[in-house]
């Protein structure tokens, strides 16, 4: 089946500065593809090149089988995009913005806008300039989705949204997938990507360093575990558990890193009087350091 997004050694340089280098990936129809990377890794540059805002230095990109440069207008008719830093004329209300974008898309029908506005609790009657960042982001999301596009490109879509709205957003993304929409979701938040994405591409220093199924990535993901006991416990009891590394003890508190299932950890801890337990997911940076080598300070 024809890939919805296909890039072939896509490269964008800004003069001598790095943008992205030889990015080759394919996003299949109906999948939610997470595009993960630290800030400045090249996620936005990739998206802006797909949208023909930036012209590739070399390589090519095809969306719906069409050339990203030559057929840009036809491509953009079929997608919805939420830019990373969504902004538009601050004098316009959300409703005016949606009506305008409806006209630009050749329709006077606001489609799903009322339903989405209700779900996101978005105020469409206030000028954008008077909305908080989160509320403006909601209007941006509605603008990206209201016309039922075949492809959704979302650059850091939940930044500024409160946790409840983040949940609602993830539900909407799941529904879009059910509808058959393909979603290209850029994020630096592993939790967010983990919850909705089928596959994930990881970009660092402008290079795509891995494309994995989400299940493979999370299967290899680890957690930081901190166990607070009522009495001193010998950390060696945990050291013998498969997947447990970096054990440390301070007073009655034992910390370590655990990979894979936690069943053995819980059973071992249960032999003692446990006061508190903390499980922390690793940051994206830690995952990069663990699986994809050293962090580059020159990252942008």
């Amino acid at each position: 089946m024809l890939a919805v997004i296909e890039t072939d050694e896509l490269t964008k340089r800004y003069g001598s500065a790095r943008g992205i280098e030889d990015v080759s990936l394919a996003v299949e129809p109906g999948e939610v593809f997470g595009f993960l990377g630290p800030n400045g890794a090249g996620k936005t540059t990739t998206i802006r090149t797909l949208l023909d805002l930036l012209h590739p230095t070399s390589g090519s990109a095809r969306l719906f089988g069409l050339d990203s440069r030559r057929d840009s207008t036809a491509i953009r008719a079929r997608l919805g995009n939420l830019p990373g830093d969504f902004a538009y004329d601050p004098r316009l209300t959300g409703r005016e913005l949606l009506e305008f974008f409806g006209e630009l898309r050749g329709t006077t029908d606001l489609g799903r806008a009322p339903e989405l506005a209700r779900r996101f609790e978005a105020n469409l009657d206030r000028p954008l300039g008077k909305l908080s960042r989160g509320n403006r982001q909601k209007v941006g999301l509605i603008q990206a989705i209201f016309h039922d596009p075949e492809l959704l490109i979302l650059d850091e879509p939940t930044s500024g949204l409160d946790p409840l709205m983040q949940e609602e957003f993830l539900e909407v993304v799941a529904e879009e997938r059910e509808r058959g929409c393909t979603v290209f979701l850029s994020s630096h938040d592993l939790d967010e990507v983990e919850r909705v994405c089928d596959r994930v591409g990881i970009i660092r220093n402008g290079r795509l360093i891995a494309v994995e199924r989400m299940s493979d990535l999370t299967g290899r993901a680890f957690r930081h575990v901190a166990l607070e006991f009522a009495d001193r416990v010998d950390p060696a009891e945990f050291a013998s558990i498969t997947g447990v590394t970096e054990i440390d003890r301070v007073g009655n508190r034992i910390t370590f890193r655990a990979q894979g299932e936690l069943d053995a950890v819980v059973k071992t801890a249960a032999r003692h009087k446990l006061v508190d337990i903390e499980l922390t997911h690793p940051s994206l940076e830690e995952i990069f350091l663990t699986f994809y080598g050293h962090h580059d300070d020159g990252d942008r």
Binding site: R48, L51, D52, L53, L54, H55, F64, T73, A74, R76, A77, R78, L79, G80, N81, P83, D85, F86, A87, Y88, D89, R91, F100, F101, E103, L104, R105, G106, R112, E115, G140, Q143, A144, H147, D148, P149, E150, I153, E175, E178, R179, G180, C181
Partner: protein, 281 residues
């Protein structure tokens, strides 16, 4: 059936881009709506200045000639104050020779720079160009909005000037005034075209404005120097102000206006091509 279920039941269709003319119409309508106050703010401000000059004409018409009669002849000709014997000649010297054309040119340039470069700086184009908007259509819209808004501002200026002239008995000729405003419009379109060409390679609105208005001022100075120094008269060929000339006093040169418009359109076309080829940062 819920809305979600209905959507799921709808087969995914390929969305087609609307015809470019329809997109152009939407962009121009939006651009005009965004600047709907400009004919009042700019038109009334500049129109009030023109009206003031016309209003004082009856009280100075007998003395203004004497006030400048001792000025050097070349200077009087250069600044268009040699024969201040009609209200049109006076208005030409006071407003139409420098202030009005430069102010209106600035307005025209800002209209273009706002839609293209300022929108780029504020990342509005990231959102706008996610929709099926061809870049050439966007550039055409920016230029079109500028042309319409300049005409609207000049209409207010002309109306105010003519009405006040009638009220004070200065009797400004409507035909001469319309011709003068047509020449100002043509000149402004040329600089709007230059701004469009600038936006084809410059990413900053201030730079686009500086380039277009710097050229306008340079052209005015070249024209002035050419008028003052016989040896430098050939330089005037490079200045749009030579073709603009003195439209209110001497009558509008329609051919010259057409020439200014043609150059403005050509610059805008170059801008559209350049804008399509460059990155939107």
């Amino acid at each position: 059936m819920t809305a979600t279920a209905e959507r799921q039941a709808t087969p995914q269709r390929a969305l087609e881009p609307p015809p470019p003319v329809r997109v152009l119409r939407a962009l121009i309508r939006r651009g005009l709506r965004d600047r709907r106050k400009a004919p009042l703010t700019w038109g009334i401000s500049i129109g009030a200045l023109c009206a003031f000059e016309v209003a004082i004409w009856p009280s100075i018409e007998n003395s203004i000639g004497k006030a400048v009669e001792n000025y050097p002849k070349g200077l009087k000709e250069a600044f268009g104050i040699a024969d201040l014997n009609t209200v049109e000649a006076y208005l030409e010297a006071e407003m139409f020779s420098l202030i009005l054309p430069l102010a209106i040119a600035f307005f025209a340039v800002r209209c273009v720079a706002d839609v293209l470069s300022a929108a780029e700086e504020q990342h509005h184009l990231d959102t706008l160009l996610s929709a099926p908007v061809p870049r050439r259509v966007l550039v055409t819209a920016a230029f079109g909005v500028s042309a319409v808004m300049v005409a609207a501002v000049l209409a207010v200026v002309g109306t105010l000037t003519w009405v006040v002239g009638g009220l004070v008995g200065a009797g400004v000729s409507a035909g001469a005034l319309a011709g003068g405003l047509l020449a100002v419009w043509s000149l402004a379109i040329l600089f709007a075209g230059l701004a469009t060409a600038g936006a084809g390679f410059l990413h900053r609105s201030a730079l686009v404005t500086a380039m277009a208005m710097g050229t306008a001022v340079a052209m005015y100075v070249i024209d002035l120097v050419g008028k003052l120094a016989d040896g430098a008269e050939f330089l005037r060929w490079a200045s749009a102000f030579k073709y603009y000339d003195s439209p209110l006093r001497d009558g509008v040169d329609l051919l010259a206006c057409a020439g200014l418009l043609a150059v403005g359109l050509a610059c805008a076309a170059v801008g559209a091509v350049l804008f399509e080829r460059r990155d939107v940062l």
